[in-house]
Point group: C2
Chain length 501, copies 2
C-alpha cells in the first residue's frame, strides 16, 4: 500500500492498538477454552487492566492528532478516505462517553450479571428487575452522551453492533415478516410432529463427531493454518488476529449429532468472513467486520442456506453414514434432511429452528426498545414477554428462567444487539439469492461438495470490503437494493414447501 | 495483609504490572501450545508492543515515586522490607540498561536466532560466529551498564537468572564435582551398556501415556483446578498467574515411554513450586520465584530424586504394567528401574542422564565465561568445545550441529543461564538430604505413593518464601549451610552403587 504519510501514521497508531486488542481477545479465548478455574480472578483483572490501556491509547493526544492530520489530507470516497472516516466514527463513540459513566456502567453490569444468574436459578425476575432498571438508565445516559445522529436513543445503542442501523427499519421488516412466519409455524409445526427424528439422538461418539466436523470445515474452506477448532461451553468464533488467526469452538453432546455440527458450520461462517479480510490491511478497519448483522449473515448463510440444504446433505449424508453406520444405516437421505430441518416452537431461543428463531428475536427487539424508550415498565416485562410468546409461538413459559431471564444480553447492558440476529437472517437470504444469480451452478456445486465458487464470491463481494463499506452499501452492491425481507420469506416458503409437502 | 500505605501503593503498582505480564505469558503459552502458524507475525508484534508497555510502566515516575516512598517507611528485615528491597533490585536492573542498548540487543538477538537456525542446519559455525561476537559485545556493555556489585561482568549477567550468584562459586563447585562425575561415568557407562532397555521403546499409545502422566501429576499434588497439561514441541512450565494458574506441557513419542513422563514430572516440579506460593501475595515478589537455580532444584528433585527412584517405581511400576500389559508384562521392577536410570555419554545435553548432564552444563558454563571475559576467541569455540567433550565425556562431536550449535541459549544472548541447571542439581540434592532428615519415613511414603508430606515440607521451607529470601538464605535455612556439592556427590554415588553393583 502506498498511502499519504499522515494516513500511514494513523494506520500505525491503529495497528499498535490492534496488537493490544489481539492480546485481549486471546485472554478471552483462553478463558473460555483452556483456563483452569483458579485463574478467573486474575484473568478478570488482567482484562480490566488491558482494556484500560487500550482505552488510554485511543484517548492519547498522539492519536487524535494523527486522526485530524489524516482527515486533513484525504478526500473523496476512496479506501483511505473511508478508512479515516471509520476510524473517526469509532473514535467519537469511544471518547464521547465520559469515563465516569463507563466505569459506573462496568460496575452495574458486573453486579447485574451476578444478580441475573441468581435470579434465573431461582426463577425470580423481581431480583433482577432493579438491576435492569439501573442498566436501562445508564444506557439511556450513554445513548445521550453519544450525540448520535440517528432517530432514537435505541439507534444510538444499536449503532455499536450495527453501525448506521435504524430501529424503525428493523420494526418495519419485523412487521413484514411476522405474519408469514407465524403462518409457516402454524402450517409446518403439526407436519413436523409426525416427522421421524429418533436417529438424531442415537449415541454418536464425540471423537468421531469431531473428526467429521473438522473435515466438513476443511471442505468449506476454513484454513487451519490460520485457524483452530476448540471446545467451549458455548460455541463462538474469535478473530485473535484476523485474517491470520481466526478460531472457532463448539460443544459436543453424544446423543445429538446435529447440535455440534450446526454450531461448527455457523462459527465457520463467521470465521470465513474474518479469514476473508485483506491480509495486507490486518489490524485496520479495512480488514475488520462492519457489523454484527453482516457477520451473522455469513454464519447463518453457511449454517442454514448451505448446511441444512438437501444439496449439502446429498453430498455429506453418505459420508456421515460411513462414519456412523450403526447409527444411520437404517435412515434415508430425505428422512435425514427432514429431521434436520424440523420446525417446532420452543421456549428457548438458542434451541430454535430456522423459522421460529426470527420470532424469538423480534420479540426481544420489540421489548427492549419499549423498555429503553420507557413505553414498557420493567415490572411488566414477564407478563408482556409471556403474552408475546403466546401470540408468536403459541407457547407460554412456565417460569421466568425459560422466559424473560433466559438470555445474558440484557444483564450485560447489550441493548440493541438482538436485532442483529434478525438482520443477519435477512441479509443472508438476500446475499444467497444474489449468489445463486451470480453462480448458476451453485446448487450442483454444493451437491458435489464444491464450496470454493461460493466462498470466492462472498470474499470478493463482502469479506474483502471489511468495515469501510456500510452494511447498506454492501447490500446495495451485492443485491442491488437496500435491506428487504422478500428474499428471506421467499427462501423459507419455498424451502419448507419442498421439504414437507 | 495490613501494610503501611506506602507499601500498599507499591504493591498495587507491582500488581498492575503483573496483570500485563500475565497477558504476556499467555501470549507465549498460546504460541507454543495452540496458535496456528498464520498468527506468528502478529503475535510477535503483540508481544513486542506489550513488552514495551510493561517496560514503560516500570519506568513511569509514579512507579519510582512509589518505590522511594515505600523505601522511606520500611526498615528491618521483615517481609515488607524484603519485598521493597526485591522490587528495588529488579527496578535497578531494568532502568540501568539504556533503551538504545536494549533495542540494539533485541534486534541483534532476533538476527542471531535466525542465523543460528540456518548455521545449525548447515553445520556451519562460521555463519553464526559474527552474531555471537556481536552479542558478546552487547552483553558486556549491558553488564557494565548494570553497575552490578559482583566480582565480574559474568556475575552481572548471571544475576538476571540467579540473583546474587557468583561465577567463582560455580567454578569452585564445578572443579569439586567434575572428577567424581567423570569417574562415575567411567564406572557405570560400561555396566549400563549391558543393561536391558529394549522395552522402553516398544509402542506405547500416546493417549494412554497421557492418561498415565496426568494421574501421576495428580498424585504428586499438581492441582488441575489451578493448572493445565498441554502438548508443545519442547516441555515447559508457565506460570500464567502463579499460584492460581500454573501450566505445564510435554511432548509424546509413541516409541518412548520415559521421555514424556520424565518431562512431565520435571515440569510438575516447576509447577508445584509456583503453585506453592502464598496466594495472598499473588503478583508480588512474595509469590514469585527467587532464581532459576531454585526453580530448577524443584523440577530436578521431583524428576530425579523422586521420579527415577526404586521407591517411586515400586509404587508406580505395577500401575504402568496394568496400563501397558503387552509392552511391559515380561519386565521386572528392578529391570525397569535400571533401564530408566541408564548412564550413557551422549553428545546432546537435553538427552543426557543424571550423571552426564552436569558435565554438559559445566562445559557450557566454562566456555561462555571464557568467551565473555575474552579469554576464548569466538573462532576457537568449536575446537575447544570438542576438546572438552572428549575430556569430560569421551566423545567428539562429528559436527557443529551436535556440538557447540546445539543449544538456543547463546543465540538469545542468555549468557549466565547454563549454570542454573547445575545449581539446580546441587540444590536439589541438598534439599532432598534435608527433607529425608526432616521426614524419616520419606522413602516409605514414596513407596506408598504418599507425596503430601514431602510437598508440604517443600512448600513451607522453600515455595512460600517466594523471592524475598535469596537462594543462599533458603539454602542456609533448609540445610544449615550455603551451597555445597557434597550432597549431590553422595546422592549420585550411593544411588548408582545400589542400582548397578
Amino acid at each position: 500500500m502506498s498511502e499519504q504519510p499522515a494516513v500511514t501514521t494513523l494506520v500505525d497508531e491503529i495497528r499498535r492498538i490492534s496488537y493490544l486488542e489481539s492480546a485481549l481477545d486471546l485472554l478471552g479465548w483462553d478463558q473460555e477454552t483452556a483456563m483452569p478455574r483458579g485463574g478467573a480472578k486474575t484473568r478478570a483483572r488482567a482484562r480490566g487492566e488491558l482494556t484500560e490501556i487500550v482505552h488510554s491509547a485511543w484517548q492519547a493526544p498522539s492519536f487524535s492528532d494523527a486522526l485530524r492530520a489524516a482527515e486533513d489530507v484525504v478526500d473523496g470516497d476512496g479506501r483511505s478516505a473511508r478508512l479515516v472516516r471509520e476510524v473517526r466514527r469509532r473514535y467519537d463513540r469511544r471518547v464521547r462517553v465520559p469515563s465516569s459513566l463507563a466505569e459506573e456502567t462496568a460496575i452495574a453490569t458486573s453486579e447485574a450479571q451476578t444478580a441475573w444468574i441468581e435470579a434465573r436459578s431461582k426463577n425470580a425476575f423481581s431480583q433482577f428487575a432493579p438491576h435492569l432498571e439501573r442498566l436501562l438508565k445508564l444506557r439511556r445516559r450513554t445513548a445521550e452522551a453519544l450525540r448520535y445522529e440517528g432517530e432514537s436513543l435505541y439507534d444510538a445503542l444499536m449503532d455499536k453492533y450495527e453501525p448506521y442501523g435504524r430501529a424503525a427499519k428493523v420494526r418495519e421488516l419485523g412487521e413484514q415478516v411476522k405474519p408469514t412466519l407465524i403462518e409457516l409455524v402454524g402450517k409446518y409445526a403439526p407436519i413436523c410432529r409426525e416427522v421421524r427424528r429418533d436417529f438424531l439422538s442415537r449415541p454418536f461418539p464425540v471423537e468421531q463427531q469431531q473428526a467429521f466436523g473438522e473435515q466438513v470445515l476443511r471442505d468449506l474452506g476454513y484454513d487451519l493454518e490460520r485457524g483452530l477448532i476448540a471446545v467451549s461451553a458455548h460455541p463462538f468464533c474469535s478473530g485473535i488476529s484476523s485474517p491470520s488467526d481466526v478460531r472457532v469452538t463448539t460443544r459436543y453432546t453424544e446423543n445429538d449429532v446435529k447440535s455440534a455440527l450446526s454450531g461448527l458450520i455457523h462459527e465457520c461462517g463467521h470465521a470465513l468472513y474474518e479469514q476473508g479480510f485483506d491480509p495486507e490491511w490486518e489490524g485496520t478497519p479495512v480488514a475488520q467486520a462492519i457489523s454484527m448483522g453482516i457477520h451473522e449473515s455469513q454464519s447463518r448463510l453457511w449454517e442454514n442456506q448451505i448446511g441444512t440444504s438437501p444439496e449439502f446433505w446429498s453430498h455429506y449424508f453418505p459420508k456421515l453414514v460411513d462414519q456412523f453406520p450403526d447409527q444411520l444405516g437404517d435412515v434415508e437421505l430425505d428422512e435425514f434432511v427432514r429431521a434436520f430441518n424440523i420446525v417446532e416452537p420452543s421456549l428457548i431461543r438458542v434451541e430454535a429452528d430456522e423459522v421460529t428463531y426470527n420470532l424469538h428475536v423480534l420479540l426481544r427487539f420489540e421489548l427492549e426498545q419499549d423498555l429503553l424508550e420507557e413505553r414498557l415498565p420493567v415490572a411488566d416485562l414477564p407478563t408482556v414477554w409471556n403474552q408475546k410468546m403466546e401470540e408468536y409461538l403459541g407457547l407460554r413459559p412456565d417460569s421466568d428462567a425459560t422466559g424473560c431471564l433466559q438470555d445474558i444480553h440484557w444483564s450485560m447492558g447489550a441493548f440493541g444487539y438482538f436485532p442483529t440476529y434478525f438482520l443477519g437472517n435477512v441479509y443472508s437470504a438476500q446475499f444467497y439469492t444474489a449468489a445463486r444469480a451470480a453462480l448458476p451452478d451453485l446448487d450442483q456445486q454444493i451437491s458435489r461438495g464444491e464450496f470454493q465458487p461460493l466462498r470466492n464470491w462472498l470474499r470478493t463481494e463482502i469479506h474483502e470490503l471489511g468495515s469501510v463499506y456500510s452494511a447498506t452499501e454492501i447490500s446495495e452492491r451485492v443485491s442491488g437494493t437496500d435491506l428487504h425481507a422478500d428474499a428471506l420469506l421467499t427462501y423459507l416458503k419455498s424451502k419448507f414447501e419442498t421439504l414437507y409437502s
